[in-house]
């Protein structure tokens, strides 16, 4: 496995921010989503977040909900996610799973960590687990050397930002806005101060997500963050070209190239 920290080291050496792309497994199909994620790596994503679709995704807006629901309707299983991790990690790009907690608990926390590590996964992003309620995951991740990516939000107190930064490994995921995932017209003024607060708490890299969908927005965020996370905009490429895989992959590649240029333009 390749820890996500390596992409931030490389990006820093190149005086740019890292680009992290998200797609859920199983949309439009398991194989189709794997091809899509590999295309994103080839086109310039430094790391991939693989979404494990969940029936009750409270932090996701309509775009990711739609793809995740279609994936579930198509019968995607947790085992498919492990296979996707293996195939995407084989590209050499650090590959993290992003999921709500219940599927992990149901799979078995220790078993999940074991299988994720064996598949070559870098770690797990947990949008509905905070470190103070995540001791079981923290123990399993530590035992298997997996990245533990927790979120901070503009509403987080300084004390909680420090606690979260301390408990995270790989990077800290800074939610740029108070709200659910989804593209927004303007980048948030809340993200910069939040990144500063994480930096004040330690030297773990900070990546900013939620609302970033264009190269220009990525460039803005890249001025102050170690990484830029894009999700809904990638999912939108696939939703907009449903039934035409080649067109969907073209859209993904061109968006990736735009974003990759954005994270390099900033500094």
């Amino acid at each position: 496995m390749t820890s996500t920290s390596t992409i931030f080291e490389r990006a820093r050496a190149e005086d740019r921010a890292a680009l992290i792309g998200y797609l859920p497994v199983g949309y439009p199909s398991v194989e189709g989503s794997i091809r899509a994620m590999r295309a994103m790596v080839e086109a310039g994503c430094d790391a991939i977040e693989i979404g494990l679709p969940y029936s009750d995704p409270v932090m996701d807006g309509p775009t990711i909900q739609a793809a995740a629901q279609a994936a579930l309707d198509g019968g995607v299983r947790t085992a498919d996610v492990m296979r996707a991790v293996e195939e995407v990690a084989a590209t050499g790009a650090p590959t993290l799973v992003m999921t709500y907690w219940n599927p992990v608990e149901r799979y078995g926390v220790e078993r999940f960590a074991t299988d994720l590590a064996e598949a070559g996964g870098a770690g797990l992003i947990t949008p509905d687990i905070t470190p103070d309620h995540g001791s079981e995951w923290i123990a399993a991740a530590d035992a298997h050397g997996l990245d533990k990516v927790f979120l901070v939000a503009p509403s987080s107190t300084d004390e909680r930002v420090a606690m979260t930064a301390h408990e995270s490994r790989g990077f800290v995921y800074a939610a740029a806005v108070m709200g659910v995932t989804g593209a927004r017209d303007a980048t948030s003024g809340l993200a910069g101060p939040l990144v500063d607060r994480v930096r004040a708490s330690g030297d773990v890299p900070v990546a900013v997500g939620i609302g970033v969908s264009t190269g220009d927005q990525a460039a803005e965020v890249a001025r102050f963050a170690d990484g830029v996370i894009v999700g809904s905009a990638f999912v939108r490429c696939l939703l907009d070209h449903e039934g035409d895989e080649a067109a969907g992959l073209d859209a993904l590649r061109s968006l990736t190239a735009d974003l990759a240029e954005g994270v390099r333009r900033a500094r």
Binding site: D56, P57, T78, W101, D128, T130, S155, S156, T164, V177
Partner: protein, 439 residues
Amino acid sequence: MSVQTGVQPSGTSRYEADERGYFGQTWGGRFMPEALVAALDELTEAWHDAMADASFVAEFERILREYAGTPSRLYHAERLSERVGARVLLKREDLNHTGAHKIRNVLGQALLTKRMGKTRVIAETGAGQHGVASATAAAWFDLDCTVYMGAVDTRRQALNVARMQLLGAKVVPVESGSATLKDAINEALRDWVASVDHTAYLFGTAAGPHPFPSMVRDFCRGIGDEARAQCLEQYGVLPDAVAACVGGGSNAIGLFTAFLEDEGVEIHGFEPGGDGVETGRHAATIHAGEAGVLHGARTYVLQDDDGQTVESHSISAGLDYPGVGPQHSWLAAAGRATYTPVTDAQAMDAMALLSRTEGIIPAIESAHAIAGALDVAKRLGQEKGPDATVIINLSGRGDKDMGTAIEWFGLGDAEEGPEADLEQVEADAAPALDTEAQQ
């Protein structure tokens, strides 16, 4: 009659949650996005402060008394009692303003919202009862109110949508997921993540992340505190058993809390068995679910092998939820309470029975409690004689369920009469103990 109306600060019983919201160190907790943690911490602190503030408690009790009509009666259902050979007492929450126990919870949460200086409330609703109660409280306290309701439910419950609108609330149909209650909760949480600085989430049941399970319980516990005092005052004894229906479980925990330390009192929760647990079409979460995390709490959940929430089924929309309040999971695990499924058919039989023996049309939710508790009463009557006492929470009235009853029993045609043989339904629902003696 002098009855204490409820609000008491949480004690240190083993049945209480710890300060992080865990019951029995396992159930409950707060599995929530970091973005909401500050708001949940703020709410927890405000709730603790309020419960320790005599003026807040007095104001809550005054509103309950003057506006909601509490304490509700503890009523001796004599004909039912004769049938089962034990004393059956009904806690008449159906007589509260808006027709159910839920008014207690929303008035408590809305009063707290005012105290916190927030100006807007959001709520989720299944059939619309909590939505109507929230809209009512928002009207009374002059708060903006938005209610999220599954699109499937807004079509099934147009009357309640109209009630909420008349009361001044905005009703938002939720199309995502299965477009029912659990998805309405998801959508309300999504709203809250973006609006938390000025908005309070009036959660509709004793579930969800800490502090909701304990806070909603505290606002509903007047049910049991009143019933316990009334039973002692009217009959000089504690009941042998208490019983309530359990969906999310707010009316049940509201009744049970006063009796948790009374070891001689059996505690019975009746879950929605739908078409029968064996069919898979049910919402008997504790009986047939497995431990998991849903809507921020570890609790019993109806889920598949991958931890995806499974759609629940009950004829009673108010019980149709694939999770359950975490304190109930703990009471079940600790052996302090027993949870048993009651099918749609058994509940509907009990609805007819109570209507025809006592002249009370219960909510179908409450009819689950009636159906299950009569078996308990019969057993206790046989064990202890006719003074054996069972308190059943009649958590709501059945007006809202007449559409379902019309369909189920074939009612409404004055010339043809009911399609169902209601005499037989009544007889089957709770066979008289000694039919010869009655003839």
